[in-house]
């Protein structure tokens, strides 16, 4: 399967995503340049973490207007998979491919740490490899990760099963103490209504090797392989 990983000026997790895709999943990865209008026939597009355009103004605000984003939007509208990780999630929200916004962490500091996440929601494309309610351990590293939306949007996201990951403690309880950024309702990751576009603040591509402390990010990609590859 072909993965396209977008590099905006200021992206910095692009090579990590490429390594995850090639070294751990054994798939092909294409580096897509922000100025390109061509997704090179990729099946999956990944918007990686980093600080596109220095995160000037708001994270993701400027990247949204990159030429490649038109292609990403078209890809998403075709129902094909798009994954936004960290800064990529912010770009997806700014681009309105996902609802809501990511605001400055409630603690006002950048946070790099390991968090627990509870798997829920109904996005088979990404979640098939997990059990509902399973507790994952993934890294986070962000300064603007507080998910926010109005109550109606939040209700809708929940009703539609679009909330796919919530911050929780080691036993799966969603608590204030386990919420690293003050995200509303503990939301760490969501999908669009169709379930093909996913955005998440934690880094699944940093959790694909036991050597680095966790392999809990692998099933996300493997679900995709099983589904889209089939």
């Amino acid at each position: 399967m072909k993965f396209g990983i977008v590099t905006f000026p200021g992206s910095n997790c692009d090579t990590d995503a490429i390594h995850a895709v090639t070294d751990q999943l054994g798939q092909t990865a294409f580096a897509l340049w922000h100025r390109d209008h061509d997704t090179q026939g990729c099946d999956v597009l990944i918007l990686p973490g980093g600080f596109a355009y220095g995160d000037a103004l708001r994270a993701g605000a400027i990247a949204r207007f990159s030429p490649i984003m038109q292609e990403v939007i078209a890809h998403a509208e075709r129902g094909a998979p798009v994954i936004g990780i960290c800064n990529g999630f912010q770009v997806l929200c700014e681009s309105h491919l996902l609802p809501g916004a990511l605001m400055r962490n409630a603690g006002l500091k950048f946070v790099c740490d390991w968090v627990h996440l509870r798997v829920e929601g109904s996005a088979p494309m990404y979640l098939n490899g997990y059990q509902q309610g399973q507790v994952l351990r993934l890294p986070i590293a962000h300064g603007e990760g507080r998910f926010a939306a109005d109550d109606d949007t939040l209700d809708q996201l929940e009703q539609n099963g679009q909330v796919v990951f919530r911050y929780c403690d080691a036993s799966g309880n969603v608590t204030d103490a386990s919420n690293p950024n003050g995200a509303m309702r503990g939301i760490a990751g969501i999908t669009n209504a169709a379930g093909n576009v996913i955005g998440m603040m934690p880094h699944p591509e940093r959790a694909v090797e036991a050597l680095l402390g966790s392999t809990d990010g692998l099933p996300l990609f493997e679900s995709l392989l099983a589904r889209v590859g089939a």
């Binding site: 997790c13 600080f51 591509e205 090797e209 680095l212």
Partner: protein
């Protein structure tokens, strides 16, 4: 010896060269005479500015170079020693590691956020201009007491500055060290280290070469910021200086990220012959140094330099320290290809000059020559000083005081109270509040990040190897005994690296001292450097580069002398990576090394008695070398489950840390320290005798045998327990406590202090 140079004329509007103006530029009458001799005429204002930068301590090392020459710099694997932007060592399989540490103390004292951020930016450029991709950052910090709002303001700003810059550029910050002491009040130290990786054949140096080759200014535009930063860094931070402080420089990590990618692409492209960061003293020092290394002349036209503000004079353009700029020597005819690469990364590049055969350093402004010096002599003939060195008698007296004569406080009857005091001392307490603000994982190669082991471990992708990295310096030791302190700084860094399974390979160092013209400061400098050299020779870790930061003084006096060591170690087999925390109940706890009766210079005396006194623990360098070998052998045999050295706070603190360092679990321990009877319980528990490591192991016999074979004393002192309790029997005294109060003290101390208000104004 006047040459034919005669076409340099003052610019209209230039101030007249008066003794006052010369003095304002930090040039002494002696140096000015030397300059007149070199030029054979009076300098122009522009030339005065250039010389003041190049002859500043920061650029010229005029007080430090003779002492630095005593350091060992060679090993078969050293590819590049001191003198370039960064040192480089080979790590085998065609891979090389470039690394360097640098200070940004003065800028951080004035504006902690930008000061620290631009410090990180500068050291990153030093590494990637060698052709290496930065793979890890470290930081070594020294502050006054966290009890004052101003120090908290400094800490917040510095940490945020380091984090924001490294995080944005995508280089993980993986390790460091922090110490708090009133000696740093008003003059914090901010040292940043960068480590980069490259193929050996990609090494490029900053040597201007090839007559007729164009010189390009690359990256950000030149503004009026930071003019005279280099000379500023060479003065005391007095109130008066603070008033005339130059405008601070503002970092732009986003541009730096582009510059990093573009520079590496340029270097690989074959279109350029040299590249150098425009760091301290900006365009002036970068161009003069490149010319000097290449033994060629250069001509620079300041009207071609892209500027941010209108009406900038040659003086300002030459001395600006605007960040995120590079100087590149391209191959003739390749400038367009080079520019195309830069454009792809949205960067500006302009040809601003040329390499010339004539051995002069010439600056023109269109048709007008505004500065011209005879070749590289400006760099090579910088005055050198051999200041007087004399130990301060006050310090001799402090060192002579007997710590055993210090009566215990009443509370100390309960050793748990003392342990809690030490674990909550900000110097010892867990530094998570700091490193949680650093992305330590980006690049997905951080095997052990901050907090997990005595050094950070970063794997070398595509090989089975990893690097072990750590900065260290116990400056209280250096203050009380600079020679011994200098040795210990290296020995401790080596121990920390070895505890993770890494063989110490080489060091970089950042020498943070006071005013070298004061005999007692120069004594500290000379002795500490010699001590560092002693240890480097004994441990086989050459010095590949470093940085000198003098004049770290404020009206209250000099900081503790702080020769920060940045150590790089090599882990040959990634399976050998070893952490510091206990991992399995029932494991034996083995103490390598001996408990001797040394309480002097300890964190205990400082924290509990507010005293900086006593003899510094003696470090036996031969023992340290064998200790490193023994540890590495035991780790390679697979018999070591965890390893942690005994440092600040002594044995009890080290043992408590072993119980708390496992991210997922807190363990207990029960040990018996039946040391020689003449060692007092106080020294047993809190003394900082050197050369000791705590190892946990399921196979104690194997560890003991390996240690003995290396001539290292080793004994089983107890066990790791599942019950979360720490029990230490130290001679007549027993310490017995649940872990909870210890972990509360250790993890909450810094967050609790930092929660209080912070403000820039005292």
């Amino acid at each position: 010896m006047s040459t034919t140079i005669s076409n340099v004329k003052p610019r209209p509007g230039d101030p007249a060269i008066t003794p006052a103006l010369v003095a304002e530029h930090g040039i002494t009458p002696f140096e000015y005479d030397k300059l007149l001799g070199l030029l054979g005429r009076e300098p122009t204002f522009t030339e005065l500015g250039i010389v003041s930068a190049l002859w500043s301590e920061h650029c010229s090392y005029k007080h430090s170079r003779p002492v630095l020459k005593s350091l060992p710099t060679k090993a078969p694997y050293v590819l590049q020693g001191p003198g370039e932007n960064a040192g480089v060592i080979s790590v085998g399989d065609g891979w090389a590691v470039a690394f360097k540490i640098e200070s940004h103390n003065h800028p951080s004292a004035v504006e902690p956020y930008q000061g620290a951020a631009t410090g990180v930016g500068g050291i990153l450029r030093d590494v990637f201009t060698m052709g290496a991709r930065p793979i890890a950052m470290l930081n070594s910090l020294r502050f006054g007491s966290l009890d004052t709002p101003r120090v908290r303001w400094l800490v917040s700003g510095v940490v945020k500055g380091i984090g924001d810059y490294g995080n944005c550029i995508g280089v993980p910050t993986v390790a460091g060290d922090v110490m708090f002491d009133p000696a740093y009040e008003g003059n914090p130290l901010v040292n940043a280290m960068c480590v980069g990786l490259m193929r050996e054949d990609e090494l490029i140096t900053a040597k201007a070469e090839g007559i007729g080759n164009p010189i390009l200014a690359v990256g950000a535009r030149t503004g009026r910021d930071g003019i005279h930063g280099a000379s500023f860094a060479s003065e005391d931070l007095s109130a008066e200086n603070e008033a005339k402080r130059p405008r601070v420089q503002v970092g732009d990590p986003f541009t730096e990220k582009l510059l990093l990618e573009a520079s590496l692409e340029l270097i690989r492209s074959g279109h350029i012959v040299a590249i150098q960061d425009m760091g301290a003293a900006g365009l002036t020092s970068s161009s003069a140094e490149m010319a000097e290394r290449g033994d060629v002349g250069v001509v620079i036209d300041v009207t071609k330099v892209p500027v941010r503000e209108e009406g900038m004079t040659p003086y300002e353009i030459l001395l600006s320290e605007s960040q995120e700029r590079m100087l590149v020597v391209a191959k003739r005819g390749h400038e367009d290809a080079a520019k195309a690469i830069l454009r792809k990364w949205e960067l500006q590049a302009e040809v601003i000059g040329e390499v010339i055969a004539e051995p002069v350093y010439r600056v023109v402004e269109g048709d007008r020559v505004v500065a011209e010096f005879p070749g590289s002599r400006l760099v090579t003939e910088c005055p050198q000083y051999h200041p007087e060195a004399r130990e301060s008698e006050a310090i001799v007296a402090l060192r002579a005081r007997d710590p055993h004569a210090v009566p215990e406080r009443a509370e100390e009857a309960d050793a748990v109270w003392t342990l809690v005091q030490l674990l909550s001392s900000p110097t010892i307490a867990n530094k998570r509040w700091i490193y949680r603000q650093y992305d330590s994982q980006v690049r997905t190669s951080t095997v052990v990040g901050p907090g997990g082991a005595d050094a950070a471990v970063v794997r070398l992708r595509g090989t089975n190897k990893a690097l072990a990295l750590k900065t260290d310096c116990n400056s209280r030791y250096v203050y009380l005994d600079p020679r011994m302190g200098g040795r210990i700084a290296v020995a401790e860094a080596a121990r920390n690296v070895a505890c993770t399974g890494g063989r110490p390979m080489a060091i970089t160092n950042c020498l943070n001292f006071g005013n070298p013209k004061k005999p007692e400061v120069f004594f500290q400098f000379r002795e500490a450097v010699h001590g560092m050299g002693d240890a480097c020779r004994a441990l086989g870790t050459p010095v590949t580069g470093g940085n000198v930061s003098l004049y770290n003084e404020n009206p209250q006096g000099a900081v503790f002398p702080t020769p920060t060591i940045g150590m790089v170690g090599l882990i040959e087999n990634i399976d050998h990576v070893t952490r510091s925390g206990f991992r399995t109940a029932g494991d034996a706890i083995v103490l390598l090394g001996d408990c001797t009766d040394e309480l002097g210079a300890s964190e205990y005396l400082s924290r509990v008695h507010n005293l900086t006194i006593g003899a510094v623990p003696v470090v036996d360098l031969d023992h340290e070398k064998r200790l490193v070998d023994a540890l590495l052998a035991a780790i390679a045999e697979g018999s070591v489950r965890s390893a942690h050295d005994v440092s600040e706070g002594g044995f009890a603190v080290a043992l408590a840390e072993c119980c708390m360092a496992d991210e997922d679990h807190v363990w207990g321990a029960e040990v018996e320290l039946a040391a020689a009877t003449d060692v007092t319980p106080r020294s047993l528990l809190w003394g900082e005798a050197q050369g000791r490591v705590l190892v946990s192991t399921p196979t104690a016999e194997a560890v003991l045998a390996t240690a003995t074979a290396h001539g290292i004393a080793a004994r089983v002192i107890g066990r790791v327990t599942k019950e979360k309790r720490l029990i230490i029997r130290a001679g007549a005294r027993t310490l017995d406590t649940p872990l909870v109060p210890l972990s509360d003290a250790y993890f909450n101390a810094i967050p609790a202090l930092m929660q209080r208000a912070a403000t820039a104004t005292a």
